[in-house]
């Protein structure tokens, strides 16, 4: 009995893994959607991430073609939804806008990225 047990354990081949995936928060989806075009100026940009975030070290900015900031500087995590960030926007004229995010996940890893969306064109 003992030998059988040890046989199982001693040869138990590859599948011993420590916590493997799921570190680092990446952008899951956003509204306005990545690369999309919206007819009217949105009031907020909302971003959903793959991991819970540390709001104290996470930030989002939105800039226009000329590189000027067009957000209200009030990036905050949604209440009760630790994987979501939201930021308010000033009224936007038609054009292309860039969202830059820099977040730290709860397991301490920083990640960043950008995407664009368009207002009022097409």
């Amino acid at each position: 009995m003992l030998r059988i047990f040890v046989a199982f354990v001693a040869g138990a081949v590859p599948i011993v893994a420590a916590p493997f995936a799921r570190a680092h928060a990446f952008l899951d989806h956003a509204i306005p959607a990545v690369g999309s075009s919206v007819p009217a100026s949105p009031a907020v940009v909302t971003l959903w991430f793959t991991q819970d975030l540390e709001p104290a070290f996470s930030d989002v900015t939105v800039t226009n073609d000329a590189g000027q900031r067009v957000d209200l500087g009030n990036a905050h995590a949604a209440q009760g939804s630790p994987a979501e960030l939201q930021i308010g926007l000033k009224p936007l004229p038609p054009g292309t806008y860039t969202v830059s995010w820099h977040v730290v996940s709860v397991d301490t890893h920083p990640t960043e990225g950008t995407f664009t969306f368009e207002v009022g064109t097409g």
């Binding site: 493997f20 799921r22 819970d52």
Partner: protein, 666 residues
Amino acid sequence: MEGVLIAARTLHFAAAIALTGVFAFDCLVASPALRLSGVAAASEAGLRRRLGWLAWASLALAIGSGTAWLVAVAANMSGKPVGISLCRDVLPVVLTRTRFGEDWLLRLTLAGLLGCCLLARQGRRRAVGAIGWVALLLAALMLVSLTWAGHGGATPGPPGDLHLLADILHLLGAGFWLGTLLPLALLLTEARQTGDTNWAAVVGTATRRYSILAMASVTVLLAGGLVNTWFLTGTVPALVGTEYGRLLLAKIGLFIAMLIVAAVNLLRLTPRLASADGGTRNVVRRTVFQLRRNSLIEASLGFCVLAIVGALGTLPPGLHTEPGWPLPFRVDLEVLTLQSVVFLAILGVFASGCAIAAVTAAAAGHYRRMTAFGSGLIVCVVLGWVPLRAAIEPAYPTSFYAPGEPYAAPSVVRGAALYAKNCALCHGTTGRGEGPVAAGLPVRPADLTAPHLFAHTEGDLFWWVSEGTDNGVMPGFADVMSVNARWDVINFIRARAAAVLARGIGPEVTTAAALEVPDFAFERAGKQQTLEDALKRGPVLLVLFAAPTPVARLAQLAAEQRRLSTAGLDVLAVEIGPSARQPTESGAPLSFVVDVSADVTSTLALYGPPEDRGETDLMLDRAGNVRARWTRGGRDGLPDADTLVAVADGVARFAIAPQSHTGHAH
């Protein structure tokens, strides 16, 4: 800073595991063994002193490495360099407002309490008493608290909870197995150096108890590890092709080496101690020496494992980096029949069993049995090769790359323009391979609308677009198109092929190969959503119509809308065709006619060409695949509400494939 972070993590894990191990060994192995024998108090004191030193050293290391880890994490999170300003401004924020910081303060408190326990025990000479068990509990808590600011703790929802539980089991198993190796070596050292013959009995009892402890903790360790891996089916490319995956393979290799040493200890050495009496003292001495040496070897291997764990925690995980496939072929099980796959699975189980039995027999010294099982293993491999050969496909370094652009309308439209400029010359404007230049080529350009396109991964296509194929008959476009541009072209080709093949789908729900509609954004009732959002709630009926607006049909759908949404079916009507984006002429706005941009209109136009006489209805399952299709001029005409409810019900049952990385760009 990376190096400091990895070193701090490694040392801290080692210290926490050692702390748990020394108290576990004391409570579960050493004290019971000493109590049952009659050793003199003086020599017992020797062992107590050694264990005490180990505990204090581990505690000091835990606090020191923990502080270094905190500073390194604060620098990492804030992006600031290590210095006075970091300590003054960032550390308080980290300690009070992040989960890592709160966790750290908890562990510091536990370390302080452990120090008190150690001081309280300083004076006592015998027995463990309650303090020993309290110390074990505190040390185990300190070890387990490492998971709360780790990967399992950061994942939202029930999968995160399961992951967290698996992490906890994994760490506890490590604490009780890896952590108790050094204390065991210390006990064996004491036994060798003392002249007291009673120690033979102590060693016999201790090693027997230790075997049980080790077996139980390895099982728990394995259980935690297995659950974590179960989350990751289909990641052989990530395991073999990413830095993270290769480090993990190294860790698994070291673990197997540790298990083999443990097997030798358990099967050959420990039985000798149990059976030998004082008469064969030389055998006992030699066995104790070998056992001690093996335990130290295992502990060293274990420390290397912890170093890998330290590094792994700083890398992006394998699933989120592009895996470079190292072999010129891959195994595609989807081309095999169900019987072949079952046969291969059974052979796999047999082969694993033979491998395990062969290794165990070798560890126990039964070499004839080892040869027998080894031959069994070879037979399994040879038998399995026969069906496996049919599943081997050529593969390229990029075969398992995730698309760099999401499979969505903006990318498809960009891809269409790039295709017209770069690809239409040979592959033709329709993609069938009859471009103006095609006739003069030695190899006919591939038909990009054939079903065979979907037998290749996106990564295969990316390789051909980047490097060319057929010895240069198709040139590589790596110089002409950026990486993202190439992914756009691939998204367009796949979207068009899906549209062309979807024309073969009729009103009956099809279970054949999945043809996916690209994601797109739309505005409904003032809110922007995407098709993916809508599909999360259930199947979607996509109604594509061209001008003139089929007012009667839309009114009919509107009348039935409540019934359809109760059945779980969402309806999205999009106007495609040259006059799109003009306001509808009907009176009341219909809530399921949604506003989209020109990108989306031209993408969806692929799926509903004008010869369908003005309207195409597509039933999409929850993964966005086309499962049924009706057209105005088609065999059954357009579906009524009863048909739609029945079809939606059937389609909703299609299982969603596990989240793969197609179209999931970051």
